[in-house]
Amino acid sequence: MPDDQLSDHALIEATRGGDEAAFGQIISRYRSPITNYLYRFLNDYEEAVDLAQETFVRVYFALERYHTGYAFSTYIYRIATNLAISELRRRKRRRLLSLTGLFQNDEDGNGNAEFQPPDDRQLPDEELVEDEQSKVIARAIASLPEKYRVAVVLRDVEGRSYEEIAEIMELGLGTTKSRISRGRGLLKDKLEGYF
């Protein structure tokens, strides 16, 4: 059977058996969904691509520990989510550190060479030029607290089911629905002009 017709689990098994092409098929299947998910989560394309690649690297090196009791899509989204949350927290800490100037490991002695908060720029890629409404929506999503942002992006950007989102976030179904609803409520306040 051609690789593109095999299930995710079959591809994982084949990769474990040394079939590198099978892992190539996994990448091919999930590279854009994961990149899109991370892009909408972080609102930074370059960072999204970097973390998406890191997601596949983590998956590859953890193949032996992957249990097929989980849907692979849930597994890979969970890894991507955890990486994205770690990145957000790292950004937050760096902002804090840049303000407090606690460290002195810079090049020019002014205490902030390494801890400048990264900007939330988007790549000037023509494919990414979005209209004003899209930019406003993207910024509104990016301003949500992470726990609501994960839920809303998985639901309304990625179209994942409540059950799958609950598994990715390792939460109960009720809490998951509540977070999606709360996240949308926060977005409503930020996007009032579009009602």
């Binding site: 190539g24 990448i27 091919s28 590279r31 854009s32 994961i34 990149t35 899109n36 892009y39 909408r40 394309y45 999204a48 691509v49 998406a52 690649q53 890191e54 596949f56 690297v57 983590r58 090196f61 953890a62 969970r78 890894i79 955890n82 990486l83 949350i85 770690s86 790292r90 800490r93 760096r94 550190l97 460290f103 002195q104 490991n105 810079d106 090049e107 002695g109 390494e114 494919e127 979005e130 409404q133 899209s134 929506i137 993207a138 999503i141 809303v152 639901r155 309304d156 950007v157 179209g159 994942r160 089911s161 609803s181 949308r184 409520g185 977005l187 409503k188 996007l191 579009y194 009602f195």
Partner: protein, 251 residues
Amino acid sequence: MDRNKEDLSFEEQRISELIGTLKQVDAPGNFDVRVRSRIAAGRPAGIRSYWRPLVAGLATAVLIGGAGYLGYQSVSRQPASSMTAATSPQPITAPTMSSPAAVALNAPPAESVTSPNRTASSPVKKGRVDRSADAPSATGGSIDEALKDTQKVGSGAPGRIVTDPQAKADVSVISVLSMIGVDASWNGMGWHVISVKNNSLADRSALRAGDVIDAIDGKPLTNDMKFSGRVTGKSLHIVRDGGPLELSLRP
């Protein structure tokens, strides 16, 4: 896409629709190649790592031997009435060290002799560890550091990292990690644990090779940050298998 069967209010429905208008972005054309390249770059690290435990083991053996020799020298030169002084927290002084090896082992860490000017002029290298600047750490730190750690952590105090509060020089992250039995390298996102010394503080706290340490007591770690003065660490924030985890340091 599972957008059906939701009983939404008008506002929620509208928000969901607005978000649904966002354009889907694709991965760049060279995505697969870059993933393959990163995977390939990860493998040599695994192959290289075979010698690290060996070096760490040898360094530990030399350190223990040196510490034992110094301890024996201190005890043998003390009158019986002052035997307890041999176990006091006072650093072992130079006169007891006669061999070149012992002198080298008791030398202060490279960081402690690094002038601020040197630090300031060093280029910041993301994703790389300047091993030469951390040479003492590769041998497990100085004897003074090792003794301080053992005395303070092993005396029934809560598990924690403790550096010398009187130290005027800065201590690098790799030195602090070395004090708790961790050999790690900076991977661009955190300190990737290469090995954990058996029965060290890190080992007892369930840290494993492969974990990535990104914060101590909630303080984020970077490649080249320095700790100055007293540093107490009671917990490590790590990433394990892609997931964040908080480890309490156990005595």
